[in-house]
């Protein structure tokens, strides 16, 4: 389906907004889903679309805008029938396929926003607002020999090398052209900046994805190169922690150095082995998570998803997993799974509450869980401030 828009009239703009709206009716699945989510074009993209000085913008596809830039091709991308990206096609297909599409899409979206600004000063001002630095030959935009944005494009158009360094507080996209001129694009490692979605929108897409996923859990058997004895006497492998000492990537082992599965004696450790993707897939069979989402949109209700599918989905997202024990109330245990994305710097936290019987039994059993999503980590100075 290809939608066409006419600009200039207020009415048309309103219509443009409405046309991006699509209500996704959730498909029936093996468990009842209570969440019905209205997926829309991200507000940021809507604002950009409304600012484009051109009338025919496809919902998904390429278009030109000679008034803005005579040579650059613009494009939109749609997901589930909703336009989610507007970018300037400045990178080749080879680069687009080889590097993180989120980072490439961000830079191409940023380029549109920069082109929509008439002067170098206002472009530099937008970069300052976003905390992004474009540095050509050592100079940021608007200083030294870097007077025009098109100079950066000249480097991109005759690239001899490109590397993207991630994992710190900043992403460094480093390019060199055939004459040796260098271009750095420094981008804060922040989900909010890198994705077109704000937190509300991103949460809605995530819950929608979770309720539709078909990805299956895959067991990852740990390497037994560094096995230690934990305080409770069990053997563990892993050893890394996230922020606090008791939130770890440990996998628990039995005395024969096999992945531990003993829910009656070690319920928390058995659950944490599932959450670390180390447990055998058969131990997840029949377990359904009854998830209470803690999201911006309070209208998203509880939903159920097989643990097998939940884990299958999150395993594919590039997260680093850490688990911990929250505590026990009678024979009910509570464990935490934190899913940290090291490039986009956010956390999802799943808290599960269960009894040993629920892990041990066969057949369908429902485990209560709470899910908090897209908690930013890039802007925390001190989470545990004390006076």
């Amino acid at each position: 389906m290809c939608l066409h828009f006419t600009a200039s009239l207020v009415f048309d703009r309103m219509m443009k907004r409405l046309r991006y709206i699509l209500i996704i009716a959730l498909l029936a699945s093996s468990v009842p889903m209570h969440a019905q989510i209205e997926l829309k074009t991200p507000e940021r993209v809507v604002r950009m679309l409304e600012s484009m000085p051109v009338s025919d913008i496809p919902q998904s596809g390429q278009f030109k805008c000679p008034d803005l830039s005579g040579t650059i091709v613009f494009y939109t991308e749609a997901r589930d029938g909703v336009t989610v990206q507007l970018g300037a096609r400045i990178f080749s297909d080879g680069i687009r396929n080889a590097y993180d599409p989120v980072i490439i899409s961000f830079v191409e979206r940023l380029w549109v926003e920069l082109l929509l600004r008439k002067t170098t000063e206002s472009q530099a001002s937008l970069l300052k607002e976003y905390g992004v630095r474009i540095v050509l030959g050592g100079y940021p935009l608007g200083s030294g020999s870097f007077g025009r944005l098109s100079q950066a494009l000249d480097v991109i158009n005759s690239l001899s090398s490109l590397s993207i360094t991630t994992g710190g507080s900043e992403i460094d996209m480093f390019m060199r052209d055939k004459t040796g001129t260098t271009l750095h694009i420094y981008i804060p490692s922040s989900r909010d900046l890198l994705f077109p979605y704000d937190k509300k929108e991103h949460e809605e897409w995530l819950i929608n994805d979770l309720t539709q996923t078909k990805l299956q859990y895959k067991q990852t058997v740990p390497e037994l190169t560094d096995v230690k004895t934990a305080a409770n006497g069990l053997l563990v492998t892993g050893g890394e922690c996230y922020m606090i000492d008791s939130l770890r990537n440990d996998v628990f082992l039995d005395k024969d150095r096999r992945v531990l599965w003993n829910p009656m004696s070690y319920p928390e450790e058995s659950m944490r082995n599932i959450l670390m993707s180390a447990a055998d897939a058969r131990h997840l069979t029949g377990i359904v998570l009854d998830i209470t989402p803690h999201t911006y949109n309070r209208d998203i209700k509880k939903f159920r998803i097989p643990l097998n599918l939940f884990m299958g989905y999150v395993q594919q997202q590039g997260y680093r997993f850490f688990t911990g024990d929250v505590g026990r109330d009678g024979n009910r245990s509570q464990c935490l799974l934190t899913m940290y994305h090291p490039v986009y710097n956010y956390l999802h936290i799943l808290s599960v509450s269960f009894t040993p019987d629920q892990l041990e039994a066969t057949g369908e059993r429902v485990i209560k869980a709470d899910l908090s999503t897209f908690i930013p980590q890039h802007n925390i100075k001190n989470l545990f401030q004390e006076k």
């Binding site: 630095r133 260098t182 750095h184 509300k200 000492d245 401030q385």
Partner: protein, 331 residues
């Protein structure tokens, strides 16, 4: 481009032209630490030439470092590559004309010179003033160049005593604060209205100029600004916000430097201090935001106190002990 950089560059360029003075020239000398006179002279020459070349390149606006042909021999191959890589990350200049430092003799016969002041033109305002560490071989050639980075600003220290439950609660605070920020960017007045307690205390600071006639001559030149605080009710604040949302087609709040503190006696009361960057169609500012959040009802936390203070006045950053925090309010 930052004004500071621009003014500095412009000043250098202007002086170079009008006064015919070579302000790009930097003289570096070693005070002590090296007994070998030849090595000392070699290091002084290499460093002086390097810093002068950086300044000359910035003044000319060129994208590659301009070194005199004979100066190339002042670097080893690794040192030259290192310089080019650093320059590609950011043009840099030495903001002073005379630098005197100690030489530190290393066990392998090499020498380090630290604390060489440098201004990074591509860095943001908070990080542009840095110090170089230069490493020399036994011949006095520059073999490596590093920036002496300050401590990482994020908390890397592992907190051994914090429980998983406490971690979870504090991350819930960060989640709440992110939702709160999102509500402003979405202009979601209903969300904001819901999260403020009905009897919330709302305090907003404003920088005002002091009447100069009432000041003595000394204080006139130094401190002619002060912060005045205004208290408002939730209703007044929400009404002001509605007007603000109406007048700005675009709002982009950015929160940074978030600090979370729990009340010493109440487990469900938290204080959050953060730096707020307000960007909107008509107006931008930076200030400190403090929120006192009641988590008694975990699904519906409420804000009991909100304060905002400008991050600077009298041309200086707001002193840390003047920023509102949890211990300034009694519950």
């Amino acid at each position: 481009m930052r004004i500071k950089h621009f003014l500095f560059t412009a000043a250098l360029a202007l002086f170079a032209v009008t006064a015919n003075a070579q302000l790009d020239v930097v003289r570096f000398s070693i005070q002590d630490g090296i007994s070998d006179a030849n090595l000392k002279a070699g290091i002084e020459k290499s460093t002086s030439r390097l810093l002068s070349a950086l300044n000359a390149t910035v003044i000319s606006g060129k994208s590659k470092i301009k070194l005199e042909k004979e100066d190339e021999s002042l670097f080893t191959k690794d040192g030259r590559r290192c310089l080019d890589e650093m320059w590609a990350s950011s043009a840099m200049m030495c903001p002073v004309s005379q630098v005197t430092e100690k030489g530190i003799s290393m066990q392998n016969g090499t020498v380090q010179v630290r604390n060489v002041p440098i201004t990074l033109l591509a860095a943001d305002e908070d990080n542009c003033e840095q110090e170089l560490v230069l490493c020399f071989n036994e011949k006095g050639q520059i073999d490596n160049i590093m920036i002496a980075l300050e401590e990482h600003r994020y908390l890397d220290v592992i907190n051994a005593q914090i429980s998983v439950k406490d971690f979870h609660r504090r991350q819930a605070i960060i989640d709440f604060v992110e939702n709160f920020r999102t509500a402003y960017n979405r202009k979601d007045i209903e969300y904001i209205n819901n999260v403020f307690s009905d009897n919330a205390l709302i305090i907003t600071g404003k920088v005002v100029k002091i009447d100069k006639k009432r000041q003595d001559l000394t204080s006139q030149s130094l401190n002619n600004e002060q912060i005045q605080y205004q208290k408002s009710t939730k209703e007044e604040y929400i009404n002001n916000l509605k007007r603000c949302f109406k007048n700005n087609s675009y709002i982009n709040l950015i929160f940074d430097e978030i600090e979370v503190m729990r009340h010493p006696k109440r487990d469900d009361i938290f204080g959050v201090t953060l730096k707020q960057h307000w960007n909107s169609s008509n107006y931008s500012d930076v200030g400190y935001l403090f929120l006192m959040i009641n988590f008694e009802d975990e699904m519906n936390p409420s804000i009991q106190v909100r304060t905002w203070q400008p991050d600077k006045y009298n041309g200086k950053p707001l002193p840390r002990d003047e920023v509102f925090s949890l211990d300034m309010f009694s519950i």
